[in-house]
Symmetry: C2
Subunit: 341 residues, 2 copies
């Protein structure tokens, strides 16, 4: 692979001239620059970003740590990140924590070794982690939390306004006459997002009107089966429940099917809502009422925030962006089966 020296030789100038010319430095005359550019083209020269990064102490690369790729939710977030990263001539390295705090921190360390200029992190929702992030904060590498955060760590953050989102769903159901609901979420993800959505629900439903059900599933492969079984076990018990608010669309769809297979009609007997607005939400029968998160926008905003911070070396106060989510009413919700009390 041709280096700057090869170009220099061909163009009959010094290597430093080539560097300056290719970076359009005004120190170099237009004539020389053109000659250099021509030589570079002939040799199919490509800048070595390793060398440039070493010298500039910048790698033009950011690291992204998410728990996994499983859901389409993260796919869309990644799309937002990738588009933005690329539009700024950056690259990204991606790693998956698999929901394991240890792994997450090992990956962060590894990424720092690769000299990433910044990090986008969806922190693992497990308690004993604050210290590691605080250590990260001591480093000169900026990072942005995405979708979730760590309360003890005041860092940049981009996520959905989950309290508002929870409230919106709840209001929708309340307006339809529902007075007793179940909030059903993935218990292994005790993430801030899950909690905040519940908080929003509580702004509408009094605590005694919402039952919170955390479903567990160690094994991702059987997630759906467990959710399905979980819902079949839970819902029929409380016959006054007329609405189920699911923590995400996957659970929402599982709920829908589980209830239908119990002989309940949706939405006539029970209304069901999801969260995220993934493709699947519109494919069910009836299609799922859900809350649309601005997924790509979350990724894009986080990336912009990070790249700006990298560029400005700014250490201003943390910037927290909470994007509004919009309620998408489909046919899985309807007037309450039982008249309000």
């Amino acid at each position: 692979m041709a280096t700057i020296k090869d170009v220099a030789k061909l163009a009959g100038v010094d290597a430093s001239t080539v560097s300056l010319a290719l970076n359009a430095n005004p120190r170099i005359s237009a004539a020389t620059r053109l000659r250099v550019e021509e030589a570079a083209r002939q040799l199919n020269y490509q800048k070595n970003y390793l060398a440039r990064g070493l010298r500039a102490r910048q790698s033009a690369t950011i690291g992204v740590v998410i728990s996994g790729w499983s859901s389409a939710f993260w796919g869309e977030i990644m799309t937002g990140i990738e588009n933005t990263v690329r539009s700024r001539d950056y690259h990204m390295m991606v790693t998956f924590s698999g929901g394991d705090v240890q792994a997450e921190h090992k990956h962060i360390e590894a990424l720092l070794g690769k000299q990433v200029d910044g990090l986008i992190i969806a922190p693992v929702p497990q308690p004993p982690h604050a210290r590691a992030y605080q250590m990260l904060q001591a480093r000169p590498v900026p990072f942005v939390f995405i979708d979730r955060y760590v309360p003890e760590v005041p860092a940049d953050l981009v996520c959905t306004d989950n309290v508002e989102a929870g409230r919106r769903v709840a209001e929708h159901l309340w307006t339809l006459g529902h007075r007793q609901a179940v909030y059903c979420h993935n218990a292994s993800e005790r993430a801030t997002s899950t909690e905040e959505r519940f908080e929003g629900i509580l702004q509408v439903f009094a605590p005694e009107r919402v039952t919170r059900v955390g479903l567990t599933s160690e094994d991702r492969a059987h997630l759906w089966d467990q959710f399905y079984a979980g819902m079949q076990a839970v819902v029929p018990f409380s016959s006054d429940v007329t609405a189920v608010i699911a923590g995400n669309d996957m659970i929402g769809v599982a709920t829908l099917r589980a209830l239908q297979d119990c002989g309940l009609r949706i939405p006539d007997d029970v209304s069901v809502t999801g969260f995220d607005d993934l493709d699947i939400a519109r494919m069910t029968n009836p299609p799922l009422t859900t809350v649309a998160q601005a997924k790509e926008e979350i990724g894009a905003t986080a990336t912009r925030l990070l790249l700006d911070r990298i560029a400005s070396r700014g250490t201003d106060a943390p910037c927290q962006v909470r994007l509004s989510a919009s309620l998408i009413v489909r046919r899985s919700t309807g007037a309450a089966a039982q008249a309000p009390l």
Copy 2:
């Protein structure tokens, strides 16, 4: 950030000693090595992979170019890649081509500039691209095609045995008594995988017994709607069709819903099959019969292949791996509605 020199100073040795010690070179005595390791720990030293990469002419990073993150299919492939990459202390940079040949090649160039040691590519299924890959082949950077390939370019390849997969679905339907089918796929993806599956189907159904329908959709956001509309338009026309073979699960689900909304019963009136075995396939009502691709395995195998080739600098003949797919029979397929002719 501490460099090797800082560690050297603290440990009272030369920088080169530190390097050797940390790489567990036997030239260095155990005592010194321990002292160096201790110093490194104290300073929280981290190797700078930019510098190491520059010197070693290796970046310990591979590039991955896929068309996008949209479907969970790619998510699982990425999971396989990431796990393998990480287990070998490599990293990966990911870019999305968005199905655009131009973009794809720009990204490949950019990744080469970042000195990736190898590439995993899901080539964009558009014709005028062979030359660019052939140029890539002239470079010393190995690459592996994944899921799809470019016939003109003899390169490493890992994908599903699509002919066999297509044949399996077809056999399943044929055995159930179906004699007239529709093969419905995404027309904008005229990928080798799509073609090969059709080839497999033709091993069972004579050409006049299968209608091939390519649905188009420019706009990803409306993919589902278009598939849905497309299927509603297509299927009822030919009343002797008793089975629809979808090119992927997304189309399968759309088909299912479209037919149901036309008043057809699945599988009593029409059988429907998908492809990929994504989560959604089991969530529909009835759950979708589909072909399970070994998605993670595809990613993992491709990565292993690539890393081995990088390690061995081998230029042996291209290695093409075709993984078997397994038929997952669910309830969307049943005996043919009409008796065989």
